[in-house]
C-alpha cells in the first residue's frame, strides 16, 4: 500500500439486496482496496447491511464508493452499525470492560465520562447486551 493510503469505516445499506453481485470482490480487484468486513446481514425482506473498513488512497476509495452507489446503495460514512444514544447513556461505565476494541472507554479519569468512538467499534455487539439503560443499539 502507498504511504498516502487511509482507512475508512463505512456502512452500506442495500434497500433491495443485490446478493448475487460480488461487490466486495470488485472493491479488491478493481479498486485495490484492503477490505475488512466487520458485520453483514441480509434480512428476510432482502435488505442488506454491510459494515466494513476499507484501506486505500482517498481517490481509490472515492471511486469505489461511486461504483457501489451504482447498485442503489446508501453509504453511511461514519460507519455507525452500533449507535449509542447520548441521552440514554448514563455514563455508568458498565460497558467499558466488555468492549474489546476500546471504542467505549473512560475518556477522562476525573469526570469518568465514557466516550464512544464509533470508528474503533468492531461491531461485536457486546455493549448492546450489557447496557442496563438500553443506550446502545444496532442499526440493523
Amino acid at each position: 500500500m502507498n504511504d498516502d493510503s487511509v482507512t475508512k469505516k463505512l456502512m452500506f445499506y442495500f434497500p433491495k439486496c443485490e446478493c448475487d453481485k460480488p461487490i466486495i470482490y470488485h472493491l479488491v480487484k478493481d479498486y485495490h482496496l484492503i477490505v475488512n468486513v466487520f458485520r453483514a446481514k441480509v434480512t428476510p425482506e432482502e435488505e442488506g447491511y454491510l459494515v466494513l473498513d476499507v484501506t486505500g488512497t482517498e481517490e481509490a476509495i472515492q471511486r469505489a464508493i461511486d461504483f457501489v452507489k451504482t447498485f442503489n446503495v446508501t453509504v453511511n460514512y461514519s460507519g455507525k452499525g452500533v449507535v449509542r444514544d447520548e441521552e440514554r447513556c448514563a455514563q455508568c461505565g458498565y460497558c467499558v470492560p466488555y468492549c474489546p476494541s476500546g471504542a467505549l472507554k473512560i475518556e477522562d479519569r476525573a469526570t469518568r465520562k465514557v466516550a464512544y468512538n464509533e470508528s474503533e467499534c468492531i461491531e461485536c455487539l457486546a455493549c448492546i447486551r450489557i447496557c442496563p439503560f438500553g443506550a446502545c443499539t444496532s442499526a440493523f
Binding site: E87, A90, C92, Y94, P97, I130, P132, F133, G134
Partner: protein, 299 residues
C-alpha cells in the same frame, strides 16, 4: 462558624456560594479548609444509580360507575391494589406480565416497573387495566383506560431504601459468569462492579447523620422531596474507620417526592440481564446552577 440562619439568609438573598462536593475538594486543596469554610455556604451532594426499593403511589380518581380495583396492571405491569379504592402501588422491580424472566438464561428483562415510572415521568400515555369483584358502592367489575401522569390526582414516589451510605464492590471468584443485582460478574475476578457516588455521596459526607435526617428537604430527581424516615436496613452502628467512615453498608434514607415535578433524565428504567429490572434515580447535584437543600454544612 456559620449558623443555619445566616446560611439560609444568604440563600434567600441569592448570595450563597454553592459548590458541589466534587468542586469543594479542589477548592479546599487550593485555598485550605479554613478559607473554604468561610467562603462557601452550601455544598451539594448527589447520587445516581439503581435504587431497587423505588416505587410510587398513584391515585386515578373515580370512574363512572365506580370501581374498587382488586387487581390492576399499568402497561401490563402488575400493581398492588390492597389499598383504598383507586390507589395503587407500583414497584420498580416488578416485571411486565408475560416476561420470560430467566426461562432462557440470561434473560433480557426488557421492561418492568422502573420503565413504567420512567414513561410516566416522561409524560407518555399508558394503559390501566383493572378488575374488581364488585360491591354495592363500587359496582364496576372491569376497566381498561389510557392515561398520562397529568390525569392522575397524585403520583408520589417513595423510596424506603435510598442513598446507601457505603456499599461493597462485587467480584466473582468462582469459575463461571454469574448474573447479580450488582451486574454481570465474570469468573476469576475479571471485573469489579460498585455502586456509590463516592465523594459526591450524601451520607459519606455526613458520616454521623448530623445534618441529614428525618424531615431534611432533598432534591429528588429534579423535584422537591423529603427524607421521611430512616431507610429500611439502616444500620448506622456498625464498624467504622478511625475517621468515622462506615466499613459496611451502614446508613440508608427513606425518601419521597412528587413525581409530577420530576425530570425524565433522572428517572430511568434499567434492565440487568440475567437478574431483573429496576429504577435508576438521581438528583442534579452535579449542576452548577443547583440550589439543592441536601446540604452538608462545613464547620
Amino acid at each position: 462558624m456559620k449558623t443555619y440562619e445566616q446560611i439560609n439568609d444568604r440563600i434567600e438573598s441569592g448570595k450563597a456560594v454553592v459548590l458541589t462536593a466534587d468542586e469543594i475538594m479542589d477548592y479546599v486543596d487550593k485555598k485550605g479548609l479554613k478559607a473554604a469554610a468561610k467562603e462557601v455556604d452550601v455544598v451539594t451532594t448527589a447520587t445516581f444509580g439503581p435504587m431497587c426499593s423505588s416505587g410510587c403511589f398513584l391515585n386515578f380518581g373515580h370512574s363512572k360507575p365506580k370501581i374498587r380495583m382488586s387487581e390492576a396492571w399499568v402497561a401490563d405491569v402488575l400493581v398492588y391494589t390492597g389499598l383504598a379504592a383507586v390507589d395503587v402501588y407500583l414497584g420498580c422491580t416488578q416485571l411486565r406480565h408475560g416476561d420470560p424472566a430467566n426461562m432462557y438464561p440470561p434473560g433480557e428483562f426488557r421492561y418492568g416497573g422502573g420503565h413504567v415510572m420512567e414513561d410516566l415521568v416522561a409524560g407518555k400515555t399508558l394503559q390501566l387495566f383493572a378488575l374488581s369483584y364488585g360491591t354495592d358502592c363500587y359496582p364496576l367489575r372491569e376497566i381498561r383506560t389510557y392515561f398520562s401522569i397529568q390525569d392522575l390526582n397524585q403520583a408520589i414516589m417513595v423510596n424506603p431504601r435510598n442513598c446507601y451510605q457505603n456499599y461493597n464492590v462485587a467480584i466473582n471468584r468462582s469459575d463461571r459468569t454469574i448474573f447479580t443485582y450488582m451486574g454481570r460478574l465474570e469468573p476469576d475476578q475479571k471485573n469489579a462492579n460498585y455502586c456509590s457516588a463516592g465523594q459526591l455521596s450524601p451520607l459519606l459526607n455526613d458520616p454521623f447523620y448530623e445534618t441529614i435526617g428525618v424531615g431534611t428537604r432533598v432534591w429528588l430527581a429534579g423535584a422537591h422531596g423529603h427524607v421521611y424516615a430512616e431507610g429500611t436496613q439502616h444500620a448506622g452502628g456498625g464498624a467504622r474507620t478511625p475517621d468515622g467512615l462506615p466499613m459496611g453498608g451502614a446508613g440508608t434514607l427513606a425518601l419521597t417526592g412528587d413525581m409530577k415535578q420530576m425530570k425524565k433524565e433522572f428517572v430511568r428504567g434499567v434492565s440487568f440481564s440475567g437478574y431483573g429490572v429496576s429504577l435508576a434515580l438521581g438528583n442534579p447535584g452535579r449542576r452548577r446552577d443547583d440550589r439543592s437543600r441536601l446540604v452538608v454544612f462545613l464547620p
